[in-house]
């Protein structure tokens, strides 16, 4: 059973990567249909990500539009040698969300801490509108990440959690949680290296 799931995940990742790479190539060639397909694949995931970071739907929709506009304009800059299209798109989305989060308006707002046990944050990625097999595999991928995070020390997980889910910088984490900056850096580094070790086989 475990073999079947890992095999399905591996196959799914390869197919998705190939599909995304083809869509990115077509978007770089300025095919609006390809942008439409890519949007259909990732809009809910990215909007969930943006909504969780930015909290406000209007801001999240604004950035979502900005993300896909950037994809349309800069698809030719995507380098397949440097990772998957999925990674590139999510990184682009998170960077834009964090830029907005650290803008003057958001700096005025109080940072809300997020717990790893918060059901809202860790709600599995089930959606009736998605392909059932895809949903299952996506949720399996989410479970793997969740399980890997669970295997980190609580201190490592907490630092990664507030950085990733709240968009806090290392200095902000240090100030907010009264942890020495060096310790924040070490916990973050060790946590990410541990995650790499845990997930590297499936990511390859």
């Amino acid at each position: 059973m475990l073999f079947f799931i890992l095999s399905a995940i591996g196959k799914f990742l390869t197919q998705n990567n190939s599909r995304d790479r083809d869509l990115m190539r077509r978007i770089a060639s300025k095919e609006p249909e390809a942008l439409s397909l890519l949007y259909d694949h990732y809009n809910r995931l990215l909007f969930g990500l943006l909504k969780s970071i930015l909290k406000k739907s209007e801001e999240a929709e604004d950035i979502l539009q900005e993300v896909f506009t950037t994809i349309w304009e800069k698809a030719d800059q995507f380098d397949t040698e440097r990772g998957t299209a999925y990674t590139w798109i999510v990184s682009l989305t998170r960077n834009k969300a964090i830029d907005r989060l650290r803008s003057k308006v958001y700096k005025e707002q109080k940072k809300q801490s997020t717990s790893l046990d918060d059901d809202d944050v860790f709600h599995p990625l089930y959606s009736e509108e998605n392909n059932p097999l895809e949903n299952t595999i996506l949720s399996d991928r989410a479970k793997r990440v969740y399980q890997a995070l669970e295997k980190l020390s609580e201190k490592q997980r907490a630092v990664i959690q507030v950085a990733y889910f709240d968009g806090l910088s290392q200095s902000e984490i240090s100030n907010e949680y009264d942890i020495p900056l060096g310790t924040v850096k070490t916990r973050m580094r060790d946590g990410m290296l541990k995650l790499r070790e845990l997930l590297s086989q499936e990511m390859a």
């Binding site: 942008l35 439409s36 909007f47 969930g48 990772g83 990625l125 950085a163 580094r189 990410m192």
Partner: protein
């Protein structure tokens, strides 16, 4: 030792970078490090970036409003049109417009030229028609006058008075055919000079040494015989006819030179 520190530093910056946790200054520093990174460090960066991307799966999926996609696709099509079609179409429309303008101008000039030619032809034709009309009217008038003169000649009881030239014009010749019954006469003159400006010839009927004006006339073409009709000439008796040169409009009494004279 230094390598170890560099590795630790790279790993710290890399982990924080993929989590979006670096300050702007640190981010710039890491990007510079990444440019000089070895294969192992680049692989570490790619792996951490992929892990960070996988963590996005932990977020709940949420459906954005449908207008986002609509706006994006509209943006994409607008972009495509402006990059390719629109410019070409614009250029094509411009070229078509220029070509159409040139064709229109040539056609307009052609039509203008043709119109001018037609106008000129029409003017010529109108002038010709007018000229012909004038000739016709002249001929009709001449025919009518000749018919009137013929009517006088056709009268059964007429008097014929011949006039000869006098000293001022010895070669002159004149003839009066007088239809007394109808009170009209025909005057024929030949070889008398063209009337000077503001002058006219005047025909007189002289009875009992009293000249009675029978009318005035002008001779404009002395090379041919000239005929004139004298109307409402209700006179009786026997006398003579004379022609004198008088001021334009005639005189109550003869004042000028006498050119022709003839008795009944």
């Amino acid at each position: 030792m230094a390598d170890n520190e560099n590795t630790l530093n790279f790993e710290e910056l890399c982990a924080a970078y993929v989590l979006g946790s670096l300050s702007a200054e640190e981010e710039t520093s890491f990007k510079n490090l990444l440019k000089q990174a070895d294969t192992e460090q680049k692989q570490l960066f790619q792996d951490m970036q992929a892990i960070a991307a996988e963590m996005a799966l932990l977020y709940p999926e949420i459906e954005p409003s449908a207008s986002i996609k609509q706006q994006l696709i509209e943006m994409a099509w607008t972009s495509v049109n402006s990059r390719n079609g629109a410019n070409i179409h614009y250029l094509s429309r411009f070229r078509y417009a220029v070509a159409a303008s040139v064709v229109f101008m040539i056609v307009s000039l052609g039509l203008l030229f043709q119109t001018q030619n037609l106008n000129q032809d029409l003017s010529n034709q109108v002038a010709l028609v007018n000229e012909k009309q004038s000739i016709i009217e002249t001929l009709e008038s001449e025919v009518e006058r000749k018919e009137e003169l013929l009517t006088i000649l056709e009268a059964r009881d007429v008097d014929l008075i011949l006039m000869d030239g006098l000293d001022v014009n010895p070669t002159g010749y004149g003839k009066v055919v007088w239809d007394k019954d109808n009170g009209q006469a025909l005057l024929q003159v030949a070889n008398i000079p063209q009337v000077p400006t503001a002058k006219e010839y005047q025909l007189w009927f002289v009875v009992n040494n009293q000249p009675i004006s029978a009318g005035v006339f002008a001779v404009n073409d002395p090379s041919r015989d000239n005929f004139f009709k004298i109307s409402e000439f209700q006179q009786g008796g026997t006398g003579a006819f004379a022609i004198t040169l008088e001021p334009e409009g005639g005189s109550p009494q003869p004042t000028g030179d006498m050119y022709l004279l003839g008795s009944m």
